[in-house]
């Protein structure tokens, strides 16, 4: 296949705007898969993705398309992950393309995420083809969608295509537009190799697999490839393209997108965004944009049953094989025993990992409240990064603390603007901008502390807007902040797993909310259990779980004994699943209480 006939493109869309369905249609239209093999949304291979409708790992399909001009084109569709936590991955996927289809739902208009990803595409100088999807729906408003594309994004929508990925209407036009409007890849085949790692994953049989875009030069079998960020070289064992089924090839040439397998054992050696070059004739400079994945959100994960600690460790190791972007290290909590401190790219990333551990590895976990990284400046001018409340130094040693901030764009219908602004204010946000996107939709731009985002911000945003608001964020900077460690004491014992870092201004409210919630979750004992929220030695809030004073069945005769004995045994079993803190049994839900705030 010649470079001239190659087109590399991605699809940019908000969740649910039909990206995966459109990908299915494109594959179907080019007959890459027979109808029989066509699973719905073929590109989303993980179960979890199919359920959530989110593409987590980018995958790709190489489509052979006989265009109307009589030539057969090779269209490389590069899938992009569709969530805010994976901005970096999206950027690398888009960097591998010359064009992108911008999907806008004709019934919904432009959303926050669409905007964020379009900006990444623009930064990469991609040819963007607006496509208005779901035109089959009665509530579709094509003109309004076009207007928003022009006004909000600033793209010319006069040549926007219309389609229905569901019915297949307009799909052929899209393929023609890709051929006609997306430029062929540039780059010189004769020059030394420069290939971008777009994605990588672990395969049990062949080891680490890299999805690459050849920017210049060629990759041949039996060539030695060097990963520029780590300087290590490996022999190419196998290479090919995805149709989307893997199809071996002899070489990948400039402009091609395909997979490379080269006996890499650790996935962390195949870093997304890294540049591959020839070990014998290396290029001088790596491709731009590479950075190490950086965990921004942290949470402790503990097995409910401490006997499962080993299993948890093995499972985390296995998961990490496929996802080097999350980190974990052993952690010992006085309340929860042995567990791990895990770091994630963001909230969704954390949820996905937790869910996979519970689902695929059948582990029963307790996760502690998520926290973020703080930069602690000591009086002696040392600076450390702390993500675990337990590691917070004594206040006396601290000069000041910096916390990570994000730049967040929130799209919301008019009627919820007030609620969104209040939410952002409550979460210590600074409003930077407010724009009318259309007659009845507003874009709010806020500077917010990341720590306020990690505790149920997104859920709140959705519930306060009845699901209509959308949000995108990017970590922007570290700023000085008056944060303190809030301790929770159960029966006069500080419980490390319940402590958290909060801004001084919210400490009292949070503390009061938390102990009041804990009071409802911690079962009654034979003695009063005081619950306290404190900063240092100062008690901010106190509640008491009153002692049980009566536990007796009124009637117990011959016919009642079996059933009532089982009830008593059940009472006790419930307590066995709890964690003992001193002499107090604390249920799992108590540790989750910190995850949702301000509901009662």
């Amino acid at each position: 296949m010649t470079q001239r006939l190659t087109r590399n493109f991605s699809i940019i869309a908000h969740i649910d705007h039909g990206k995966s369905t459109l990908a299915d249609r494109l594959i179907e239209e080019t007959n890459a898969l027979s109808q029989r093999e066509m699973k719905k949304q073929v590109l989303d291979s993980m179960d979890l993705e199919q359920e959530r409708g989110i593409t987590i790992k980018a995958q790709t399909a190489c489509l052979s398309y006989p265009a109307q001009d009589g030539e057969v084109y090779q269209l490389n569709l590069i899938d992009t992950p569709g969530h805010v936590d994976f901005t970096y991955e999206v950027a690398r996927s888009l960097q591998a393309c010359e064009g992108a289809l911008l999907i806008v739902d004709a019934t919904q208009g432009v959303e926050a995420q669409t905007l964020a990803n379009v900006y990444i595409a623009m930064e990469n100088d991609l040819e963007i083809i607006p496509v208005i999807n779901k035109i089959d729906l009665p509530s579709a408003d094509v003109e309004e969608a076009k207007r928003q594309i022009e006004e909000v994004i600033g793209l010319d929508a006069s040549e926007a295509l219309c389609c229905s990925a569901k019915t297949g209407e307009g799909i052929a036009d899209i393929l023609e537009a890709v051929v006609a409007r997306v430029p062929a890849p540039l780059g010189d085949r004769e020059k030394p190799l420069q290939a971008l790692i777009v994605d990588s994953w672990f395969d049990t049989y062949v080891g680490a697999v890299a999805l690459v875009r050849v920017v210049q030069g060629e990759i041949h079998k039996s060539m030695k490839l060097r990963m520029m960020s780590i300087g290590v070289a490996y022999d190419v064992n196998d290479l090919g393209v995805f149709l989307p089924k893997p199809m071996p090839r002899q070489k990948l040439s400039v402009g091609d997108v395909g997979f490379v397998i080269c006996g890499v054992k650790r996935l962390s050696d195949l870093k997304v965004g890294d540049t591959l070059t020839s070990d014998r004739h290396p290029v001088e400079e790596a491709l731009p944009g590479f950075r190490e994945p950086k965990a921004m959100v942290f949470s402790g994960m503990y097995p409910v049953d401490s006997a499962e600690y080993g299993e948890l460790r093995d499972s985390l190791e296995k998961l990490r094989l496929n996802d080097p972007s999350f980190t974990f290290e052993p952690e010992n909590s006085t309340a929860l025993g042995l567990g791990f401190r895990c770091g994630f790219l963001g909230m969704l990333h954390m949820e996905i990992i937790q869910e996979r551990l519970e689902r695929e590895y059948q582990l029963n976990l307790i996760s502690t409240a998520p926290s973020v990284v703080y930069k602690i400046h000591y009086k002696d001018e040392r600076v450390t990064e702390v993500s675990n409340p337990s590691d917070f130094p004594d206040v006396i040693e601290i000069a000041h603390i910096e916390e990570p901030r994000v730049l967040a764009n929130i799209f919301t219908p008019n009627e919820f603007v007030g609620a969104m602004m209040k939410l952002c204010q409550d979460r210590r946000g600074d409003q930077l901008d407010m724009k009318f996107v259309s007659e009845n939709r507003v874009m709010l731009t806020y500077d917010l502390p990341l720590s306020e985002l990690v505790i149920d911000f997104y859920d709140k945003l959705k519930s306060l807007s009845r699901g209509y608001a959308s949000m995108d964020y990017e970590v922007s900077s570290f700023k000085e902040s008056d944060v303190i460690k809030l301790d929770i004491l159960v029966h006069a014992e500080p419980v490390d797993a319940l402590s958290m870092i909060v801004h001084r201004s919210c400490a009292e409210t949070r503390g009061r909310e938390l102990v009041s919630r804990l009071r409802k979750l911690i079962p009654r004992h034979q003695f009063d259990v005081p619950l306290q929220a404190a900063i240092g030695g100062r008690i901010l809030a106190r509640e008491t779980v009153k002692a049980v004073r009566k536990n007796v069945i009124a009637k117990c005769y011959g016919g009642d004994i079996s059933r009532k004995r089982k009830l008593l045994e059940k009472q006790k079993k419930g307590k066995k699943r709890m964690k003992s803190i001193g002499s107090v049994d604390v249920p799992q839900e108590a540790f989750m209480a910190v995850l949702t705030l301000g509901e009662d």
Partner: protein
């Protein structure tokens, strides 16, 4: 020593709080039910576990046993005497609904050998009786009690319920005094319990009833106990009070972990196994299913469980600690071939230290004030496997 429980599973109306096995039927085939009871009784008499043991008590419970024709009661009592070795005096109790009694029935029961009557009074307040969905009135309570005395019953129990929604404690104590004024030999006073799978539970789930909170229910409990004790009723179990020497022996035997046969639909039985464990069973609840099994000469058991010796030991403690006298440690050691303290010492320790649990004259019992925590202790004992 063992007891015989006979279940009469029929009622004229099913009260919303009731979780007993009772059925409202238009036509009750009494001869068929009687025949089934007699056949089942015969089945059990051939089982080795009840041979060489003395039958000490018989209890007709329900449902509404006072719906049964006296001939049925007579036939069952006679058959029990015929099939089993009986103690010199056998306590024969029968539960009666004040709304279903007349002179003939009571005379008939008396002649059949019933020597203890338990009258389901529940309340001395018309409104409360209505709320409870009872079929009887306060007048009928007085009338039933008088007839019972007139035909010669000298051992009568009154069943009462307290802590009903919105019930005022003084109001309740006043009713309790009315019960005491009748001078029954025995009073059972139960706090209203919303039992699962009852109509009341469904109502409560939809809209919580204004029932007593913990403090109020403790108040009810202690004041009830005090008033009865002042009037010379001994509190011998959580909800049971009697004149000296007139405990209900049949019920006491449950808490003393003795064996019992249960016959009839939904009846339960229990016997000790040779290995120190126990077997418990329950018959089919539906009268028709029960009768069909028996007619086919099969046992009517729908549920059976065997508990090992350790579980039986914990269960026996749970039950015995409901009694004011608690458990005899000598009995325990003989029964389970282990010292009670050796088995449960670590569970007992904090309870003994705080004075909630007491040991005296080789008996272990809960202090009066700690009786209301018996199930807390029980759950620790039942859970303990050290």
């Amino acid at each position: 020593m063992f007891g015989l429980y006979v279940h009469i599973p029929f009622c004229l109306h099913k009260c919303h709080y009731c979780d007993f096995n009772s059925h409202v039927q238009a036509d009750i085939d009494w001869p068929a039910y009687q025949a089934a009871l007699l056949t089942e009784l015969k089945q059990w008499s051939t089982q080795t576990q009840f041979q060489h043991k003395q039958l000490k008590t018989i209890f007709f419970g329900g449902g509404t046993p006072s719906l049964a024709p006296p001939a049925l009661i007579q036939a069952v009592v006679d058959a029990a005497y015929q099939h089993f070795d009986c103690a010199e005096s056998v306590e024969v109790s029968l539960e009666a609904n004040p709304g279903t009694v007349d002179m003939d029935h009571f005379t008939g029961y008396r002649q059949a050998g019933v020597n203890r009557l338990s009258i389901g009074v529940q309340s001395f307040d018309e409104q409360e009786l209505k709320w409870l969905q009872r079929i009887h009135s306060v007048d009928e309570v007085h009338r039933a009690f008088k007839i019972a005395r007139d035909v010669g019953f000298d051992n009568i129990n009154l069943d009462l319920m307290y802590a009903l929604p919105k019930q005022n404690i003084a109001h309740w104590l006043n009713h309790l005094e009315q019960a005491i004024a009748l001078k029954p030999e025995h009073i059972s006073a139960y706090q209203l319990t919303v039992e699962p799978h009852t109509l009341l539970a469904a109502t409560h789930a939809k809209k919580p009833l204004p029932i007593a909170d913990e403090d109020e229910s403790l108040d009810f409990f202690w004041k009830t106990r005090a008033l009865l004790q002042e009037n010379n009723y001994q509190a011998y179990e959580i909800s049971n009070f009697s004149k000296p020497t007139l405990k209900c022996q049949h019920n006491d035997a449950y808490w003393l972990y003795r064996d019992y046969i249960g016959i009839g639909a939904g009846a339960n039985g229990k016997w000790d196994q040779l290995d120190g464990g126990v077997t418990r069973y329950r018959n089919h609840n539906q009268p028709q299913a029960y009768m069909t099994h028996i007619q086919d000469n099969k046992q009517a058991i729908s549920f059976q469980e065997s508990l090992d010796s350790n579980t039986a030991a914990s269960e026996s403690l749970w039950l015995a600690l409901r009694r004011s006298e608690g458990v005899s440690l000598t009995w325990f050691e003989q029964r389970f071939q282990q010292k009670c303290h050796a088995m449960f010492g670590s569970v007992f320790k904090p309870w003994l230290q705080t004075g909630q649990l007491c040991e005296k004259n080789n008996r272990l019992f809960l202090a009066e004030h700690a009786l209301v925590m018996v199930d807390e202790l029980a759950s620790q004992i039942l859970d303990y496997d050290g």
